[in-house]
Assembly symmetry: C2
Homo-oligomer: 176 residues x 2
DNA sequence: CCACCCATGTAACTAGTTACATGATTTC
DNA sequence: GAAATCATGTAACTAGTTACATGGGTGG
């Protein structure tokens, strides 16, 4: 279970409120670890209980706004977890189930849904490539930037694979 | 939620017991939709309650062994679900979180874990390629076989991407 | 003054995991 | 006759989703 560690990482990068975290999880870090704001608030409460983070009311902000910071115990936990070996996420892709159902009980008319997916993956890919242009087109990258670039490249390669595969799937579905 | 539909598909392909399904979910269909035997038994009970499947005691089998079959209502549900539009699974990859943590709080020593992962992805890729050789090297493929091949190719392309990316990640981690 | 965004949460539910339990049959 | 595998499940827990609730601040 990595949500607390994703949160710790995000807060280490930049201390902020639960709300800010939720928004960050709608982009950057959320591209590879999704969470809703309800999960985030619940997890933050647990982490504070365990002494991994502390929160302080923000002066001059909106009423009730809190800012979270990572405590030494939180950093230690992050280090401990990082080198721990773990199993890769299990794939879950309903399009594969649908294809298999189509193979089993005749043509079901999956073309529209595949077209929708193709558009989505193309858009996602474009988003990643825009970020690449914006953030990583400089000549020399620091270690930190190289690692962040690596993460982005995983996303790009994944979406490229998806786009290509979806096109192939559409071709097969159309010709048969 | 697709577990019941993955089960329906698997039972349509070949009626069988919960135990058989659990084993099938450890290979073929489980490569893109994982489930434990506890989940499977629970879901089968629900599906029987809803009239999607029926079970009969197997004569001559082990005591208590039941065989599930898909009822017309189950097929109808599968058809309904197949053309319904759905959101692609959200990615969740803890290696990305670890890389980002490494970028944020200094080198943590991720090389070993990446090496382990590389081996796993290489093995998985090999497994898929063996299946490709065994099942899809004939010249003419039926519509059904083409669709099943498509699913396998998604797995191959995914693992190839992973292997390549993991090698790149290792190179970056080693040089910095 | 109304709509929208900021900012926090609670409650109820669904899905998935881990641990435990039981007994029959086959294989060595 | 012991160990492995077949075959079923229950119970307890953890994680994730969906729906609801509340109130302040900002911009038109």
């Amino acid at each position: 279970m990595s949500l607390p560690h994703a949160l710790l990482t995000s807060i280490v990068e930049k201390p902020c409120s639960g709300y800010d975290l939720a928004r960050r999880f709608d982009k950057s870090i959320g591209y590879f670890w999704h969470a809703t704001h309800q999960q985030i608030y619940r997890e933050l409460a647990r982490m504070e209980e365990q002494g991994w983070v502390s929160s302080t009311e923000v002066e001059g902000g909106r009423a009730g706004k809190r800012k979270f910071e990572v405590l030494p115990a939180g950093r230690a936990e992050l280090r401990r977890w990082a080198v721990e070996s773990s199993a890769p996420m299990k794939l879950r892709d309903d399009m594969m189930v649908k294809l298999r159902a189509d193979a089993a009980i005749g043509p079901l008319g999956l073309i529209e849904e595949f077209e929708r997916r193709l558009t989505m993956h193309e858009q996602e890919l474009q988003t990643y490539k825009d970020i690449e242009q914006r953030d990583f087109s400089g000549a020399e990258l620091s270690r930190e930037a190289q690692l962040r670039y690596l993460i982005l490249k995983a996303g790009i390669s994944f979406e490229e694979g998806r786009v290509q595969w979806t096109r192939e799937a559409l071709a097969t579905l159309r010709q048969t």
